[in-house]
Symmetry: C2
Subunit: 235 residues, 2 copies
Amino acid sequence: MIKLSQTDPRSPKTTVTADKVAASLSLAIHEHRLAPGTKLGEDEISELFGVSRTVVRAGLQSLAHQQLVEIQRNRGAFVAQPSLREAREVFEARELLEPRTARSAALRATPQDITILEQHIKDEHAAIAAADQGRALRLSGQFHIEISRIADQTTIAGFIEALIARSSLIIALYWRRESALCESFAHHALVEAIAQGDGQKAQELMHSHLVDLHSALDLRDRTAQSRSLKDALRL
Amino acid sequence: MIKLSQTDPRSPKTTVTADKVAASLSLAIHEHRLAPGTKLGEDEISELFGVSRTVVRAGLQSLAHQQLVEIQRNRGAFVAQPSLREAREVFEARELLEPRTARSAALRATPQDITILEQHIKDEHAAIAAADQGRALRLSGQFHIEISRIADQTTIAGFIEALIARSSLIIALYWRRESALCESFAHHALVEAIAQGDGQKAQELMHSHLVDLHSALDLRDRTAQSRSLKDALRL
DNA sequence: ATTCGCAGGATTGTATATAATATTGTGTTC
DNA sequence: GAACACAATATTATATACAATCCTGCGAAT
């Protein structure tokens, strides 16, 4: 057989290309290397990945479903810019879902799970030590996802994953510079409660942790016109 | 060619045509005109709607993201067949989200909202009287969606909408014929509680309503191989 | 000088063509 | 007659071509 295609010849069956595009963009968004509002041109991306616009579109539409990017008809795809209202809703939803999930996780966690969580915290520390803010932020989110995975509720875990993804955008937009992001302590305490199988404590710790996060955001109402001005400022 | 309907000029989010395809298929699934496991061939659909496979694919991917259809690589798209486990998870998630949402709805509902809900119930009755099971089922789901809309939490409402969509598939697969589906009473009581602004009661009613629904399903574990046999039976 | 209009260019939306892959049917061999 | 190999067929995955739409910039008119 003749191989003409210039695409990566190593993984022809393992992963679907559109997923790779979406995963790559998603990672960049999570690590704040792509700012909210950034234009994601189809031609540009298709050249970067060496694939056709068809698969790029599929990837972008996938991200649009997760509300990580916004697709405007005949205008293109942009990294999403959650509104104040959306930001509040996302954290309210997390405060509803995650404490209960942490509780389930505490009741179900195996020693293996604990090891994984502890490793996560170590990785977070390493990222912080390396001053890699982006990586630290992503790992912090993954920690929450890992807990929901332990809780063994795939459906709810999916919701939480979507909420955490959007949280990354919200943090990029509304984080108050004054407040320091030291999640390590909260995460460590959570792991301890989970390791001890103390569901009630895990639930409470998760809730206060989320409230802390929420209050570290500046979600005060600004003038309504800031929405359109913001676009200009971001570019 | 025939123009079916004009586009909504206020929501230019994604491609309009693909949305119509997805909405049409979604409706058919909700009304049980498309059984779980049904093959959704791209060529077939593209001919039915008079559009190219490109937009059909976009629509199918959208539905796949909502887990209403399952896309198997190089095999095609099929109406999803939620597993027993998924079925349980969906209803557990609903039991977690919807009671709280009903509470919020009771506290926020306007007289207009009450009117809308009452009209919904009337429509449900009409559908039942007309022996239109499919329509009745869809309206019943929409009733829940309407409540979440009143609660004014778009994000959570989106989750609930996805859960209800999957519930339709679950009912198609696991409904016990013995138990009658008389949701009218429960819905009526709910509207009363909401009309009176009694959040606590609405929350409790919603919870017991969901428990009733859940228990009307046959979610006992059958042989594992039934999964593959089922495909044969459905075609 | 400002505003309106229009053309040019750029980008997305859709359709079609080509490549890759799975399924099915047939024929040969044991 | 059964089982395997292989070809024929059907369907999906990707790429490319074409059409529609939007944005930008220039120029003319007021």
